[in-house]
């Protein structure tokens, strides 16, 4: 089950906790992986750890031209992009009343617009191949909202609507488009929270603990697999029961 031998996967945000784990998991299932991210060092380190079947493809997702070029670079490096995992994301949290246009625009640009551009960039080869898997990593806050994250929640909710629309368009081409909505996962992003904040969050999670990146990667592996070919336009919530959607 879930054998990805011969498939080529491009993972953005592979320098982060969740993205790195997704790349490792797809690689372990046999895929060749293209690791993208802004910071080259962690990408190189992960590539060294994985050894073969791996390519480092740095990209600043805030740079529209670089984003347009990324799918082409990935095809050059790997021969195709069969699986696209849009995992990269940033936060610029602020209370709504204090949020600047820039904080809003940056989060929308990186978390939503760059994802749109990357999806568009891989469609042509996927349509020709009559096979493709697009996995957009959203967030629980896209469904529930979160104080201080008006921009982030908007982008992540937007991702879901975008995924569904695209899923409609390409479903009969063998391409699936799905989202994964992680709850609170222990990564550098959530390390920023103080103990009191963490404690408050834990009281809201029926599972009684934060999730780990491996649990998100497992969901990505499933959605990337041939076995999930009849699953499209859905959002897989991986959140320990924090929001039962």
């Amino acid at each position: 089950m879930f054998d990805l031998t011969g498939k080529n996967a491009l993972v953005t945000g592979a320098s982060g906790g969740i993205g790195g784990e997704i790349a490792k998991t797809l690689h372990a299932a046999g895929a060749t992986v293209g690791l993208s991210g802004t910071r080259v060092e962690p990408l190189e380190a992960l590539a060294a750890e994985l050894g073969e079947r791996v390519h480092v493809l740095p990209c600043n997702l805030g740079d529209a031209e670089a984003v347009e070029a990324l799918p082409k670079q990935a095809v050059e490096a790997m021969g195709s992009v069969d699986i696209l995992v849009n995992n990269a994301g940033i936060t610029r949290d602020n209370l709504f009343m204090r949020m600047s246009d820039e904080e809003w625009a940056q989060v929308l640009e990186i978390n939503l617009t760059s994802t749109f551009r990357l999806c568009r960039g891989v469609l042509r080869p996927m349509m020709k191949a009559r096979w493709g898997r697009i996995i957009n990593v959203g967030s629980i806050v896209g469904s529930t909202g979160n104080p201080g994250q008006g921009n982030y929640a908007a982008a992540k909710a937007g991702l879901v609507g975008m995924s569904k629309s695209l899923a409609y368009e390409v479903a009969n081409r063998g391409i699936t488009v799905n989202a994964i909505a992680p709850g609170f996962i222990a990564t550098a992003m959530t390390d920023k929270l103080n103990d009191k904040q963490k404690e408050a969050i834990l009281t809201q999670i029926p599972a009684g603990r934060m999730g780990n990146p491996e649990e998100i990667a497992a969901a990505a592996l499933y959605l990337a697999s041939a076995e999930a070919g009849y699953v499209t336009g859905t959002t897989l919530h991986v959140n320990g029961g924090m929001a039962m959607l």
């Binding site: 042509r124 349509m127 020709k128 368009e169 390409v170």
Partner: protein, 77 residues
């Protein structure tokens, strides 16, 4: 029939799975040959590849029939 027309016809027949004799000058991809809007995008992609040309989006939108495709490609090869 010109060489361009023959090659375009072959692509249309293969892609849409229609009979060759249905692919006539005025045949609309969508109304007469059963294509959906994504099929027309894919046809344009296939033409680009076959003829080594680039068809800009505004031109692609105007390629609605077999005749449109042959005329555009003949003029832009």
């Amino acid at each position: 029939m010109s060489d361009v027309a023959e090659r375009v016809k072959k692509i249309v027949v293969e892609h849409l799975g229609v009979d060759e004799d249905k692919v006539v000058e005025g045949a609309s991809f969508i109304d007469d040959l059963g294509a959906d809007s994504l099929d027309t995008v894919e046809l344009v992609m296939a033409f680009e590849e076959e003829f080594g040309i680039e068809i800009p989006d505004d031109a692609a939108e105007k390629i609605q029939s077999f005749g449109d495709a042959v005329n555009f490609i003949s003029a832009n090869q």
